[in-house]
């Protein structure tokens, strides 16, 4: 390479890099300062590939063997938070068939159909806790007596407590649907309850 070639090469590189940097600035700052989801990537635009999720190390060769969430979730019914999957519906529709026992695939859950209505002090509707949806995943001893006393009214709790990982928050907010899905628990109108 002679002097002129080197100059042209470096100038081209510099110009393109400058354009790129300006592009980044334009997109981030001037594009739209008030996007709808300012701090969140909307679910549809989320790139869930394991190599891009920022907790997996993309240099790990084994990543290619692991199932991608997008592929696994494709046939399942959607939801508004968490994994954006309605796991209860997925189970009820038979789209997933989780084994209840890791050694015996034929063993089935002993589900119990009992709804506990909990009165709520604030303006939200009362909470109807369905044992049925919980007992297909869990057995009694998972919650009783270590998390909840098996007695109606014996388990006072607050949303603050739940968000700190106590009571319902042991699962809801970490694995089961998060507390942003208010109306999945707060379902019972107070007017009907007070009769």
């Amino acid at each position: 390479m002679n002097k002129r070639q080197i100059t042209i090469t470096s100038l081209t590189l510099f110009a393109v890099a400058l354009t790129a940097l300006m592009g980044v600035g334009v997109v981030n700052a001037a594009g739209n300062p008030n996007p709808f989801n300012r701090l969140f990537v909307p679910p549809k635009e989320r790139d869930t590939a394991l190599k891009n999720d920022k907790i997996h190390d993309p240099s790990v060769p084994g990543l290619k063997l692991l199932q991608q969430p997008k592929e696994a979730f494709a046939p399942l019914p959607g939801s508004i938070g968490g994994n954006y999957i309605n796991w209860v519906q997925a189970l009820n529709k038979g789209l997933i068939k989780p084994h209840f026992d890791h050694l015996d695939a034929s063993k089935e859950a002993l589900s119990m159909d009992l709804v506990i209505v909990m009165e709520v002090k604030g303006s939200m509707p009362n909470v109807a806790f369905p044992h049925k949806e919980h007992t297909v995943w869990l057995e009694c001893t998972n919650c009783h007596d270590s998390i909840f006393k098996p007695l109606k009214g014996a388990n006072p709790m607050s949303m603050a407590e739940i968000m700190l990982g106590q009571k319902c928050g042991v699962c809801h907010g970490s694995v089961a649907f998060p507390v942003t899905e208010c109306r999945r628990c707060h379902t019972e109108s107070k007017k009907t309850a007070k009769k």
Binding site: Q5, D47, D53, K54, G62, N83, L138, N142
Partner: protein, 140 residues
């Protein structure tokens, strides 16, 4: 004219690769700006780093979503004895190999066995023990 043409010839031939390389670079920069740096792992993904970093191996990622499609919560949280707390069990390679915790299934019979190190030990080094996207923040 005759003095100009070689200059353009040079520009065209030697810089075309460089041009496309820089173009690719600028797209990468643009993509980096568009999709910030926050983690986008699945809700409920668990990072276990009680011992990994200290022992020079990548921390473990346990994908809750993958396992809950195949097993009810009860089978791991009752039968196998995992507490409802990230990093709350004393799981290590020794008890996995002797069939406890992950080793109850990851034994080469129900699921792939322990020689596939990097299928579990796949997190970026220094990722703290946490439930990803939990309302409870990861300890600093």
């Amino acid at each position: 004219m005759s003095s100009r043409s070689p200059r353009f010839g040079v520009l065209h031939q030697s810089n075309i690769t460089m041009f496309f390389f820089s173009l690719a670079l600028s797209f990468m920069l643009l993509a980096g700006g568009l999709f910030g740096s926050e983690a986008r792992a699945e809700y409920g993904d668990i990072v276990l780093n009680n011992y990994s970093d200290k022992n020079g191996i990548r921390p473990v990622i346990f994908p809750h979503w993958f396992h809950r499609m195949r097993y009810a919560c009860k089978s791991c949280h009752s039968d196998i004895g995992f507490p409802f707390k990230a990093g709350g069990s004393k799981v290590n390679m020794l008890n996995i190999i002797s069939g406890e915790y992950c080793g109850a299934c990851h034994n080469g019979q129900i699921a792939w066995s322990v020689e596939n190190c990097d299928l579990c030990h796949s997190a970026l080094p220094n990722t703290p023990t946490q439930v990803h996207n939990s309302v409870l923040r990861a300890p600093k």
